[in-house]
């Protein structure tokens, strides 16, 4: 039996009928066509499916869509405003923090969420906050540098 849920994604309210076993990742991707949310493992190990739910980063593959009813969600598609990239996106682009790009949406959402709570994180705080987002390509260094540079830009 499908259940009707209402939630807000990237400032748009949606009403969706979802089967109770569907994950938030699946509903975002298949029903809302928000394909920027990536599924790397489906069991909460890799962080590629990270979205912001009610202000907190979550692995959307571990959230049942019905649990998301009434919540406010931000996906990677909602990070930039129009043509203008978020400072974290800007620094990821400019500083080589992106290679294959599959971890990037989740990584950027975790980073923006960190900077909202802690606008001036130390390197160790960045590493701690993003340690649930796996990346096999970059060795992480340029990601850490990009988050720190974004923090500096957001200050000014």
């Amino acid at each position: 039996m499908k259940k009707l849920i209402t939630f807000t994604v990237n400032d748009i309210e949606y009403e969706v009928a979802v089967a109770p076993n569907r994950t938030l990742t699946q509903v975002l991707r298949d029903d809302l066509n928000l394909l920027g949310t990536k599924e790397g493992c489906g069991v909460g190990d890799c962080g590629a499916c990270t979205v912001i739910m009610d202000g907190k980063p979550v692995n959307s593959c571990l959230v049942l869509a019905v649990q998301a009813g009434g919540s406010t969600i931000k996906t990677i598609e909602g990070v930039a405003s129009g043509d203008s990239l978020h400072p974290v996106q800007e620094t990821f682009v400019e500083m080589g923090a992106i290679q294959c790009g599959f971890c990037t949406p989740g990584m950027i959402l975790s980073a923006t969420s960190l900077l909202e709570k802690n606008p001036h994180p130390t390197e160790q705080e960045v590493r701690q906050a993003l340690s649930g987002n796996l990346c096999r390509c970059t060795g992480y260094q340029k990601i850490v540098e990009a988050v720190q540079e974004a923090s500096r830009r957001m200050k000014g």
Binding site: V79, M95, G96, Q99, C100, Q128, G139, Q141
Partner: protein
């Protein structure tokens, strides 16, 4: 050095914005109207005869559109090396590992397809499973493949110089046995594909692959479709590192079911299926005997290697050759003997992974060289410098080091890490280690014997001159080839990177063997450079006719035509352009004739301007059997220094600092070069410290997830001091060569050598877990 506008810069990647905003599309993001979802039935047993397959219940399930087994797929064998085509899309007589493909279903949705898979009934007769080299090669072991009694999938015997004779001149002879563990690729994007067979008999396959060319050939051969009717397209790929270089059964099954149903069929691996498919790093066991003269000259090496290959060959034939040929250099070693054996076992198939074939050998040998340096009382850096090859040297197995900044790399990490102040002077529990390595810059030969070009490229200028379209079948898999090739095109044509649109990863765009053996920058780069130069020449020829200026007196750079002598009056051309584009914004202006105007003149007088390029390596060294694996137009090289802390109470290793120098020839994009270096070191760190695919007694993977199989997180990886060494490679486009794989070579041994420096023990089995290191320290205390 010549000044460049576009290359040797830190321009952002051309795909970065799409990837940062979620716009980039990967294979699992694709869909089509009427699309079916596919699922695969895989063997639950490691080794068994198939007695019967009953698909009737699956076929009856509402929503199922197709169920296929070997009966529908046929028995055409395929693989990587034509001499070892030992795979079928679906097993017919028996299954050879847990995960071997037995059947496939296409249905209206994934749930239905999975349910149908569960309804397929297979009767098996279980056979003894051979899960390691010892059991697979034991007397009386059943052949996993009938054609290979004794379960030896390949063996290699090579000798260069004379090992036995050379040993007589050596003062130190040391033998060590070293082993790594089976690794997983650990890329973030599971393989996925979408196949569409249309009414005209054309097949299009979108797939997460490193080589559209090899997949195209394999699909055409297995399904009996003319190769010209098969198009393979690679959307963005979320990492490959080797395991995505060969065709997989899922790709062929999707194509087959699309042909049978007339509907597009999409299939996606689960993470567990990524582990089952594997095709990643083998487990290598190397017995290494090295002879060194009294003065510290490395003089002789004997290398006996056994590979646990898994159930099929995949890239493993190349692996067993590389496991021998990638030692020796970067040292002047005159005598080298190699015996390699790749053994079939009832486990998932191993194949190529970053640093193909050479990583474990390098780890064992560089650790052994460290031990020998200690016996000689020589500083490990000095010992290596003494034996180092230089530009122009040729190895005993005929690899021509046409450029080699090895000395600069080693001196770079020595000085960059402050080696002199640290080596032997750090407190107990802290250590510093060094190692070197080298790697091919593109395989010298295709996987199948052929006269084919390795890379082609086409440049097509738009009719208004406003954009340059680059078409290549090269595979952007995250390593940055779209950006590098775009930069090369822009530089060679004389425009900016913004003017170039890169279209890649599509067999309709030409031939490119793909992203493996670190070949895209050098080989595809050559083709792209030729294509851009061809287009430029055509533009200048057209311009020459109009302006009566000889072609050789003109050039294009920075988006404008450069007149080497007097600047002619080109006002007629400008007026023409402006009139033709009345009402347009951004009309050409200023004192220089723009590329746009020149390209427009060329279009008006000659039609669409197309530049073509095609590259294959020239004559390469080595006439012996197996010389095709390891010969390359160029070789990258690197050195690393690693600093560690070992907790002597627990055996836990923390990597404190890494200093890495890599000779990539001329760096096309400095940010990308650093990214490849840092990523390589991270993968090496993982293999050194945590990574091991483990099995139970039935051949089932115990840790087929990214939670249980640990790759480095942001907390495990230190910052790397990256030093780019730029030699000028005569065989590379603009002097460029590889960085993507060679950079991983010194990582593991540098860690091993640092651990020895910290606590005085040598670890000969990876990964260096706390337990293993703790036990080794205890053992040492007892002595």
């Amino acid at each position: 050095m010549k000044a460049y506008n576009v290359i040797n810069t830190r321009l952002p990647r051309v795909d970065a914005r799409a990837k940062a905003t979620g716009d980039a599309r990967y294979a699992a993001d694709l869909s089509m109207p009427g699309m079916l979802c596919g699922a695969m039935l895989q063997s639950p047993l490691a080794h068994a005869k198939i007695l019967n397959i009953d698909t009737s219940a699956a076929k009856r399930l509402p929503g199922v559109r197709d169920v296929v087994t070997w009966k529908e797929a046929g028995l055409v064998r395929y693989g990587v090396s034509p001499a070892r085509y030992d795979e079928q899309v679906f097993c017919s007589d028996k299954v050879r590992y847990v995960g071997d493909e037995v059947a496939s279903v296409a249905a209206i949705d994934l749930e239905t397809a999975m349910e149908a898979v569960s309804l397929i009934k297979v009767d098996y007769e279980e056979l003894p499973a051979f899960l390691d080299i010892q059991s697979a090669t034991a007397e009386g072991a059943i052949a996993i493949h009938e054609d290979f009694p004794g379960n030896v999938s390949a063996e290699v015997h090579q000798e260069f110089g004379n090992f036995e004779e050379a040993l007589k001149e050596c003062a130190i002879v040391r033998t060590d046995t070293f082993t790594n563990k089976r690794q997983d690729g650990g890329f973030l994007e599971p393989q996925a594909c979408l196949a569409q067979y249309d009414l005209n008999g054309n097949l299009t396959l979108w797939s997460s692959t490193q080589s559209v060319h090899y997949v195209q050939r394999s699909v055409a051969m297995v399904l009996g479709i003319p190769v010209g009717k098969v198009r393979v397209v690679k959307p963005y790929v979320g990492g490959g590192f080797g395991p995505k270089a060969a065709v997989n059964a899922m790709e062929i099954a999707a194509c087959l079911m699309s042909r049978r149903t007339g509907k597009p069929v999409k299939m996606v691996f689960s993470r567990e299926q990524v582990f089952l498919h594997s095709r990643a790093r083998h487990q290598f066991t190397h017995e290494l005997t090295t002879g060194v003269k009294k003065d510290g000259t490395i003089f002789a090496l004997r290398n006996v290697c056994h590979l646990d290959g898994g159930a099929y060959s995949s890239f493993g034939i190349a692996t067993i050759y590389y496991a021998g040929s990638l030692l020796g250099a970067p040292y002047k070693l005159p005598n080298m003997k190699y015996d390699g054996y790749r053994i079939y076992t009832n486990k998932p198939t191993c194949g190529a992974q970053r640093g193909h074939g050479g990583v474990a050998a390098r780890a064992g040998w560089e650790q052994q060289l460290d031990a020998i340096a200690a016996e000689l009382n020589m500083d490990p850096v000095e010992f290596r410098l003494k034996n180092m090859m230089r530009t122009g040297d040729v190895t005993c197995n005929d690899f021509n080091m046409s450029s080699l900044g090895m000395k600069e790399c080693l001196e770079g990490v020595r000085d960059g890490s402050n080696w002199g102040a640290k080596k032997g002077k750090l407190p107990k529990g802290k250590g510093i280690g060094v190692a070197c390595g080298f790697f091919v810059s593109g395989a010298g030969y295709p996987i199948y014997r052929s006269e084919t070009f390795h890379s082609t490229a086409t440049i097509r200028l738009t009719e208004d001159g406003g954009a340059v379209n680059l078409y290549t079948a090269a595979a952007e898999i995250g390593q940055g080839s779209d950006t590098i090739l775009g930069q090369i095109a822009a530089e060679a044509l004389g425009v900016s990177l913004d003017d170039v649109r890169v279209h890649s990863g599509d067999t309709d765009f030409g031939v490119d063997l793909g992203a493996y053996s670190s070949r895209q920058t050098l080989m595809s780069g050559h083709a792209v450079k030729m294509a851009a130069e061809d287009a430029k020449r055509k533009v200048l020829e057209a311009l020459s006719e109009q302006l009566k200026v000889p072609v050789e007196d003109m050039d294009i750079a920075g988006g404008v035509v450069v007149f080497k002598k007097d600047k002619p009056d080109f006002s007629r051309l400008r007026t023409m352009y402006i009139k033709e584009h009345r009402g347009w914004e951004d009309q050409p202006s200023g004192a220089e004739l723009t590329f746009r105007e020149a390209a427009r003149v060329a279009f008006i007088t000659r039609g669409v301007i197309i530049g073509n390029g095609a590259y294959k390596p020239g004559e390469l060294g080595g006439k012996y059997k197996g010389a095709a694996v390891g010969t390359s137009p160029a070789y990258g090289c690197s050195a690393q220094v690693v600093e560690v802390t070992v907790d002597e109470e627990t055996g836990k290793v923390t990597i404190d600092a890494m200093t890495d120098a890599h000779d990539c020839g001329f760096a096309i994009n400095r940010t990308n070069v650093e990214g490849q270096m840092q990523g390589s070191l991270s993968m090496g760190l993982g293999e050194a410290l945590f990574e091991e695919v483990r099995f139970d007694a039935k051949g089932r993977i115990l840790n087929a997830s990214l939670g249980e199989y640990r790759i480095p997180t942001m907390l495990d990886m230190p910052n790397v001091k990256t030093i780019i060494i730029e030699s000028d490679e005569p065989n590379g486009p603009f002097g460029a060569k590889e960085v993507g794989e060679g950079a991983i070579m010194p990582t593991i041994p540098a860690i091993l050598n640092a651990i020895y420096d910290a606590v005085g023990v040598r670890i000969n089995e990876l990964p260096i877990t706390s337990e293993r290191l703790f036990a080794a320290m205890k053992e040492k205390q007892k002595k």
